[in-house]
Amino acid sequence: MTVYIGAEHIISPLGNSAEENFTNACEGKSGIRLVKNGNFKQDSDLYLAKFDEGVNLDAIVNECFNSLHIDKSVLTSNKTKIIFSSTKGYLSDGIEHALVDVINKFILSEQLSNTPILISSACISGVVAIAKAGELIKANFYDNVIVIGIDFLSDFVVYGFEALYALSKEVCKPFDKDRIGINLGEACSAVVLSKNEPIFNEPPLEFVSGSSSNDANHISGPSRTGEGLYRSIQKTLSSGNISKSDIGYISAHGTATKYNDTMEAIAFNRHGLENVKLNSLKGYFGHTLGAAGVVEVSMAMQQLRHQKVLQSLGYANSGDDENLNIITTTEPHQFNAFLKTASGFGGGNASIVIKKT
């Protein structure tokens, strides 16, 4: 069975549709900006990809859902399931029920046939959600699955990453030898998976396979051998009958912390993928946590559709890390399939492959 994936949508500080985000990224624009005295002690600037003050964060999920370029009857169909991916949900409204309210508020505001589920597996949530969506359709549990990733900035999250010394005081530099940490971001993004090609207004792509694996190493630091990511990529390629020569582009996780990017380089090299064109999109969106997987898969899909890959913003030179073929300028590129990877707190690692139909 072919599982189609399409109707990708992104609402972020960089734009209000996947196309707009892609066009702006092609022009070298970024959603990250300087926020004066944004840190805990309010004595230091931070770089964050933050929505403008006027944006209605309460309505974003509904706006995203109702803007999807698909047959509208799919939204309410009993053959449709919604999967959310988020780490902190509506935390700015208060800690209690912050995450489960993503589901509760949505079912009150939309007519749905099935109760959504919400995946909260830290930064790999989005990629895991898309993998699960594909599995649900292949298993004939549903015909259509809509995956919505959402996470917002908050003092809680900013202060937390700051306490871990994970934030960079500069614009982030994924994979660069001088990288010193992440820039956080916020976004809402969605993709639709279906066994029925006609539901899409524009031609979809094909979801091939996906998986997740744990590092079994440390709850907040990646494995030094990249074991979990290695195993996930292994499972994804083998279950999808994909060989590494089929992969024309890699959308890496690339958070710009010292350890994450080193670990990814190791895992990709262990697979012999070091020559595949690769970027991190965190320089355009910041790290959008639970939304990251969906935002970045949407952007990878745009690159596949346009046969054009984006410069890995923030990268200039590699240091001691294992070699990767990092994209240094936005350029045309002919390819048929991409690999998307993610890694996160709790030792999770996930990957998916999407290709042209």
Partner: protein, 200 residues
């Protein structure tokens, strides 16, 4: 045929494994878990750094592993982890929020403000490299959980270690269970059976 082969229920004043119940004198989950940790000689110093959610999941998983030693026969990536709750990491979220309102944002508290960290703790202890997923849902949804288990067993997993884990000062609702394929003993995995065990 998929079977529920072991299960563990933790409430504020009792812990039971496969219906064998131990009651405690207090309703303080933290001290009850510590007591089990000592009595069972779990010997794992990282336990003390865990937050209450991870401690509950950890202790429950250790009791299950002691009860069902055959789980040790699976390869290191054949056991999938599937946990869920409705409260996410609220217990630790409050603690972290308190720490920064008191001017000392705590890195070790922040690390536990994600519900899936407990999956990491179990994976690390057991050196399990398999699939892992955390779901947040309004209630214990047996139908949903069963469906997710089936998906995992269709992949490369041969067994699932599952849990519904809510811990707060007012509500302790922990239900862990293992699902194995191709067994001859156990309780058949059906929605009704899961609900019955959960409500026992």
């Amino acid at each position: 045929m998929n079977y529920i082969t072991t299960y563990c229920r933790i409430t504020s004043n009792s812990i039971s494994v496969n219906d064998c119940k131990t009651e405690s004198n207090t309703t303080d989950l933290s001290s009850n878990l510590l007591e089990v940790y000592k009595n069972e000689a779990l010997k794992y110093p990282k336990f003390h750094k865990m937050d209450l959610l991870a401690k509950a999941a950890f202790v429950g998983s250790e009791l299950i592993l002691k009860e069902n030693t055959a789980l040790g026969n699976y390869k290191d990536d054949e056991i999938a982890l599937l946990f869920s709750n409705s409260e996410s990491s609220e217990h630790s979220d409050s603690k972290f929020e308190t720490s920064y309102k008191n001017n000392n944002p705590s890195p070790s508290q922040f690390v536990y403000t994600l519900p899936n960290i407990l999956l990491g703790e179990i994976a690390i202890k057991n050196k399990w490299f398999g699939e892992n997923i955390f779901l947040v849902s309004p209630t214990f949804d047996a139908g949903e959980i069963k469906q997710q288990i089936e998906l995992m067993l269709m992949n490369s997993s041969k067994a699932c270690f599952c849990g519904w884990v809510n811990v707060s000062d007012s509500n302790v609702d922990v239900f862990l269970f293992t699902i194995e394929q191709n067994q001859t003993e156990g309780i058949e995995l059906t929605e009704i059976n899961l609900i019955t065990l959960y409500n026992k």
